[in-house]
Symmetry: C2
Subunit: 336 residues, 2 copies
């Protein structure tokens, strides 16, 4: 029996990680290359192809790959392109699916953004197995989201649905966000948001804090976590503040799709009760009455080092685009 595999590729601003994944969600082999080493996109694809082919040969998996799933910033599921990425060198429109499929001889490819990939990974291999309605929130450098409704990832009319990190949480005098607007959830509840809150609290207030021993410009969310775990009152309040804003935002998300669960992923999500206690309290208090007590808040079950590749690979099982075929949904095969 030929064992089926998929390939997952996660394209980040720094590293591109790729791996071979089996049907039970085990990453059987993985490797990485530097994303920005090549100014020319074709050179990048060539190195990716070479690295991945080496893995496939090493695992004797030639002919067993069902498809390739890719998670990348600003990746459009419908067009197969990366569109206007803030952080990649290869131009405003990057024909990712086409180039990867072509490099692998017409292998089926599907792409989406990393948060959507994380949601698919969680649904296929993790905490959301069997769930038809949930929201994935990734708390990293930014705040990403992937929304599943009725068992399907929500792509929206343009392929870019699910920017819940850019719900506006402060409508007056809100922080400037990387998107150019002000007051976005991401400006408060990402790792960088927590660091910004730390700087703000330290400047506006005079009480002592372990954080004052650090260069204020270099403070990270990890520093705030360490200080809070050491009992620092100000650092705990920073998590309280972060959890409250996230809880309020998540209550608004529920008013949209009434999910069974909201799943948290990423470094900040591992802050334990420092974040989760104020988050859950504010969330439950802020919910529209009909939703109270119905929505679980749970943590991702995917190992962080594997999650990006696993998530992307989950898309590989349903990949449809092949080089030389038009980018339209595959027609149903005629019934015999």
């Amino acid at each position: 029996m030929i064992k089926p595999y998929v390939v997952g590729i996660d394209i980040g601003g720094t590293n591109t990680v790729f791996g071979i994944v089996d049907a039970r969600g085990h990453v059987v082999a993985s490797d990485s290359i530097k994303t920005k080493k090549h100014v020319d996109f074709d050179d990048y694809i060539a190195e990716l192809h070479e690295g991945l082919s080496r893995l496939i040969r090493a695992k004797d998996a030639e002919g067993q790959i069902q498809g390739i799933g890719i998670g990348a910033p600003n990746a459009n599921y419908y067009t197969g392109e990366i569109q206007n990425p803030p952080n990649l060198p290869w131009g405003p429109i990057i024909p990712l699916a086409e180039k990867v499929s072509k490099a692998f001889g017409g292998m089926p490819v599907a792409i989406t953004n990393d948060a959507n990939a994380a949601a698919l990974g969680e649904m296929t291999y993790g905490a959301a197995r069997g769930m038809k309605d949930f929201i994935m929130i990734t708390l990293g450098t930014g705040v990403g989201s992937g929304i599943v409704i009725n068992g399907q990832l929500v792509y929206g009319a343009d392929g870019f649905a699910g920017e819940l990190g850019h719900l506006v949480m402060k409508r007056n005098n809100g922080r400037v966000c990387g998107c150019g607007r002000t007051g976005c959830l991401e400006a408060y509840c990402s790792a960088t948001g927590v660091a910004r809150t730390a700087r703000e609290f330290l400047e506006l207030r005079s009480e002592p804090s372990l954080l004052r021993n650090l260069d204020i410009e270099d403070i990270t969310s990890k520093d705030v976590y360490d200080a809070a775990m050491a009992g620092d009152k100000l650092a705990k309040e920073i998590f309280q503040y972060t959890g409250e804003i996230l809880g309020e935002a998540m209550a608004d998300m529920v008013a949209f799709s009434s999910p069974q669960a909201i799943i948290l992923f990423g470094g900040l999500a591992k802050s334990g009760d420092l974040l989760l206690k104020p988050l859950k309290e504010t969330f439950e208090k802020s919910l529209f009455p009909a939703y109270k007590g119905k929505v679980q808040i749970i943590l991702s079950e995917l190992k962080e080092s594997d999650a990006a590749v696993l998530g992307a690979s989950a898309l590989g099982w349903e990949a449809r685009y092949r080089y030389e075929t038009p980018l339209v949904e595959q027609k149903e095969e005629p019934k015999a």
Copy 2:
């Protein structure tokens, strides 16, 4: 040839309107009864059955009804029940689908709330024909919503998704909302919200206004509209304020599902540029950059007097529940 019909029933706090609708969206006959005339739910059902049977006989439509769709407050699509309605006399759990189906000899019945019914009506017969991703916002006494993603109405895990009237727009010092929380969209952008804004503006400010000729407690959104159309500056500002809040809320909705369009329905939606100009300006300005210029704001194309029945009737075409059969999704028929 037997012409197929569906029945649409709209259960409001005051009137229950019902009608027979053909496949092209014409209401071929309709009538109504008083919703609260009967304290006993069975008596209500008996009168509804009698009135509807009379219509069906008058149109010689016996045997041609494919299903019954019902729009009702707090109606749960999954269970077929009205659950905890704020404004109906028949108890916390009302087995609506069961009783109606039983009264009509096992006719297929489906129920949902009125805003979801409006969205289905728009998709089946109105401005959203051919759209797979849109959001319907009903601006009436409250603010309701129906969300369509990938051609499917979003019901959520519990059947109650889509309470966008209860997105929180003012997180500090917001108005008390009927739901018991504060700052909800509905407290500002419904007909009653506009009247509240009028009272607030009149009390806090001293400038002259036509609205000062009215008893402040009796001012309605219609009064504000009339004053604004007569050139009253304060009344125009009330619409400006309302449009801005609604525009900001709608920008957040887009960050969720990236719809092709947002469709407005209800009395306030007919305020023309008084509301739409500030709404569209604020909406476009508030959108996350990737969505700018992509989302249409359009008005319902359904005649208001027919819309509730039409919307409910649209659900009738896909009604599955029959009395004496379990409330589960119909199994696919085996392929020959």
